[in-house]
């Protein structure tokens, strides 16, 4: 496609986030009862965005050479004096792929949500927020301007906050929404510092501009400017930006909000915390990749890689010991994000982004599947109380199985190809990291197998009488009543399993495009021949090993009762408890940082009350005093007093003059003759 047509499409990129935004705006005004209308509006809007995104994607496919086709459209947002703030829209392979993924996956998640939220009172509010989120995420993806990206970044954070705390009347949800927002905000401080520094050094926030003065185009120049901590300016900015990605993509140490975010409804978890928002951090690093690679041999890339590697292993260990179906998937997301970040840190844009795309599909599939399981078992979320669901929910089972195999990296599913690319790039960069990543892959296979057997195999443990109401932290507001909890699970309605089927297709087939994706992004396709066989073989091997171990422990003898002890905990003992309690990181944060912040808060409150309020009160009192003085002096004394005395004098004058009206004729006569005498006087003296 020629460049002019691409340019034309780039100008229309703003339509992609527009449809969900308009849908959200209309839905915010709809009354609560209009469920069909609200859901329909939302889905139609997402469908429209999807079609537009696919159109843009197809337009970018027509490149014959390795030159990256990129079209953008910048416009001035507002101007003050000589400086002006711009916004921009971009259409390039990275953007197009992400847009299609977000729109497509979002569309199917919305379809599923109509079933999941069917019994909730706040149906319309849910879809309003979801649309807003979709609009923000799409806006983030099509943005050519770091300011617009940041705005959309914050907006997705806001929507995440609103949706995690969708059932805000639950204390756990309220705490989780705050935690999510505050933790990501900490990362956003770094992000913002990065933006400031970039603007300072380059004078623009546009990523690509017509005269090649865009921020990314100046990356090379920035590499020669000095930054902080012995880095060049480009790497310093990259580091600061990566801190934002740390928060948003839930890398260690800011990962703590993601598992708690599972308090939100499952479609939220699927859309935001698996496929899109958490991927925004990775996407942003990918978008700003020229900054990261501008200075050769800087330690920021190594830092990124090690953070990703550590997070991958760390989260995978925790996932092994979790009992909530969504928590396992949450930690799995954390771990896979670590893989992506690690790949980016190892220097490969294509591997990281491709894994992002495939992960979006199969993780959304897994989350939607878990949503179906939750609905089908009447809001049961503890895996110990499930079991044997294969015969009750066959469609869900097969789709879930496909997703699980994709995640474990079993060929020929999508996850195998993408994870393989990641491991290969890591192997080229650092053997130690590769080793740890492979261990993480092993753990991934293990815990997913554990989950599969616990949930779908064996016999249904849900109806047992001695489990009581063990939903201490999973109470949903629309409880069906105690009678329902022991009921038989059932398959879900078609609008819940259809998205699963569609996503499964992608989970199977998407992997074959890994090579094309690399070329599509314009990355050089040359790969080192050595190590490829080793890496591929080892990844398959550890996958198989993990599945085998899982089967040995959980599959051969499935759990009989819900209260049974996990077989693994018997072997690992204290370690299992530590893993179950997430390595006590939350407790550590509570004791150190949160306590410290609370103490600071107390001091600041005291300061505010005494000093600031004191000054304010002093000012107010002084004003009051001055006004009282004016009131007394001016008003009381002069104005009131003056007026009163003039009235009084008039009254007294009148009273005195009234004495003339004595009614006595003789007095009148006297006055008369006095007047005559005065006239005579005047006559005499003039």
């Amino acid at each position: 496609m020629d460049h002019a047509a691409l340019q034309h499409l780039a100008q229309q990129q703003w339509l992609i986030p527009l449809f969900p935004l308009v849908a959200a705006a209309i839905q915010s005004l709809l009354p609560r009862g209009q469920r069909k209308l609200s859901a329909g509006l939302c889905i139609v809007a997402m469908g429209a965005s999807c079609i537009l995104a696919v159109r843009a994607f197809l337009a970018t496919l027509g490149t014959e050479h390795h030159e990256v086709e990129r079209a953008f459209f910048n416009f001035t947002w507002f101007q003050f004096g000589n400086t002006h703030l711009d916004m921009g829209l971009l259409l390039d392979p990275l953007t197009a792929g992400m847009a299609v993924m977000v729109a497509f996956v979002g569309f199917w998640i919305f379809v599923n949500a109509t079933g999941y939220m069917a019994e909730d009172d706040n149906f319309t509010r849910f879809f309003c927020f979801q649309s807003l989120f979709a609009a923000s995420m799409l806006g983030l993806v099509v943005s050519n301007n770091l300011l617009l990206l940041y705005i959309c970044w914050e907006l997705v954070g806001l929507c995440s906050y609103l949706l995690i705390g969708f059932w805000y009347f639950k204390p756990a949800a309220a705490a989780a929404m705050k935690k999510a927002f505050i933790t990501t905000r900490i990362g956003d401080v770094g992000f913002f510092l990065g933006i400031l520094m970039l603007y300072w050094k380059t004078g623009t926030l546009n990523l690509y501009t017509a005269d090649h003065t865009g921020a990314l185009e100046q990356a090379g120049a920035l590499a020669h400017l000095a930054g902080w901590w012995g880095l060049s300016a480009a790497s310093t900015i990259a580091f600061l930006l990566f801190i934002g990605a740390l928060g948003k993509s839930a890398q260690f140490p800011l990962h703590v909000w993601l598992p708690d975010a599972m308090e939100g409804p499952t479609p939220v978890s699927a859309l935001i915390h698996a496929a899109t928002m958490v991927a925004a951090g990775v996407f942003m690093v990918g978008r700003m990749f020229p900054l990261f690679t501008a200075e050769p041999g800087n330690w920021v890339m190594d830092f990124v890689m090690w953070v990703g590697c550590f997070t991958a292993v760390f989260s995978a260990t925790i996932a092994v010991a979790q009992f909530d179906i969504k928590r396992v998937l949450a930690y799995s997301t954390c771990s896979q994000l670590g893989f992506m970040v690690m790949a980016l840190g190892a220097g490969s844009l294509a591997a990281g982004q491709f894994h992002l795309l495939t992960h979006a599909f199969f993780k959304a599939l897994l989350f939607l599947g878990s949503g179906c399981v939750i609905i089908g078992t009447h809001h049961e979320q503890d895996m110990r109380k499930m079991g044997g669901l294969k015969k009750y929910m066959p469609i869900t089972f097969w789709c879930y199985l496909i997703g699980m195999l994709a995640l474990c990296g079993v060929p020929p599913f999508a996850g195998f190809f993408s994870k393989d690319e990641v491991l290969l790039e890591t192997f080229r960069r650092s053997k130690v990291a590769w080793g740890l990543a492979t261990f993480a892959a092993f753990l991934t296979a293990f815990y997913m197998t554990r989950q599969m057997f616990m949930v779908f195999a064996g016999k249904w443990r849900g109806g047992q009488p001695d489990h009581g109401h063990g939903h201490a932290d999973h109470d949903t507001p629309d409880d069906h009543g105690s009678g329902h909890h022991g009921g038989e699970p059932h398959e879900v309605s078609w609008n819940m399993w259809l998205p699963l089927v569609v996503l499964s297709a992608f989970a199977i087939g998407l992997g074959f495009f890994s090579q094309q994706y690399g070329q599509y992004l314009g990355v050089e396709g040359g790969e080192a021949p050595e190590g490829k066989a080793l890496v591929m073989g080892s990844s398959v091997a550890v996958g198989a090993l993990g599945i085998l171990l899982g089967w040995l422990i959980y599959g051969r003898r499935t759990m009989e009762h819900a209260t049974e002890e996990d077989p693994l905990s018997a072997s690992l003992g204290v370690l299992f408890t530590v893993l179950n309690r997430k390595w006590y990181i939350d407790e550590l944060y509570e004791v150190t940082i949160i306590r410290f912040t609370a103490v600071c808060g107390v001091f600041l409150r005291l300061f505010d009350k005494l000093v600031v309020d004191g000054i304010l009160h002093a000012i107010a009192w002084s004003f009051w005093g001055v006004s009282q003085l004016f009131r007394w002096l001016g008003d009381e004394f002069f104005i009131n007093g003056g007026f009163d005395s003039s009235c009084e004098s008039v009254r007294l004058g009148g009273k005195t003059l009234a004495k003339l009206q004595s009614g006595r004729v003789q007095n009148y006569f006297r006055v008369l003759s006095l007047g005559a005498a005065i006239l005579l006087l005047i006559y005499f003296f003039t």
């Binding site: 009234a658 009206q661 004595s662 009614g663 006595r664 004729v665 006569f669 006297r670 003759s673």
Partner: protein, 103 residues
């Protein structure tokens, strides 16, 4: 006779002052009327004096005097009738008591 006019004028002025004095100072309403009569007569005396000294050929001054006297008489009649009527109401002829037009 060699009395200049000013003697008569001064006499008339003096009598006028006496009459005024009486009208302004006494409490009894009838004395007030007496004072007014004195003033009247002083005025008419003045008039006749001028006639005698300067306008003795004309009859106008005498006419004036005749009319003045008759008017004075009518006025005193009315005044005394009023005093009688007032006396019936107030039971006294004290001018200080007749203050119902006060204010």
């Amino acid at each position: 006779m060699n009395i200049p006019l000013d003697h008569y004028l001064m006499l008339s002025a003096f009598l006028f002052a006496i009459g005024l004095c009486g009208a302004l100072s006494r409490k009894n309403a009838i004395i007030v009327l007496i004072g007014i009569e004195i003033m009247f007569n002083a005025g008419i005396l003045n008039l006749i004096a001028f006639w005698h000294y300067k306008y003795f050929t004309s009859v106008t001054a005498q006419m004036f005097a005749i009319f003045a006297i008759s008017i004075a008489a009518a006025e005193s009649a009315i005044g005394l009738a009023l005093v009688i009527a007032v006396y019936r109401h107030y039971k006294s002829v004290d001018v200080d008591e007749m203050a119902s037009l006060k204010g």
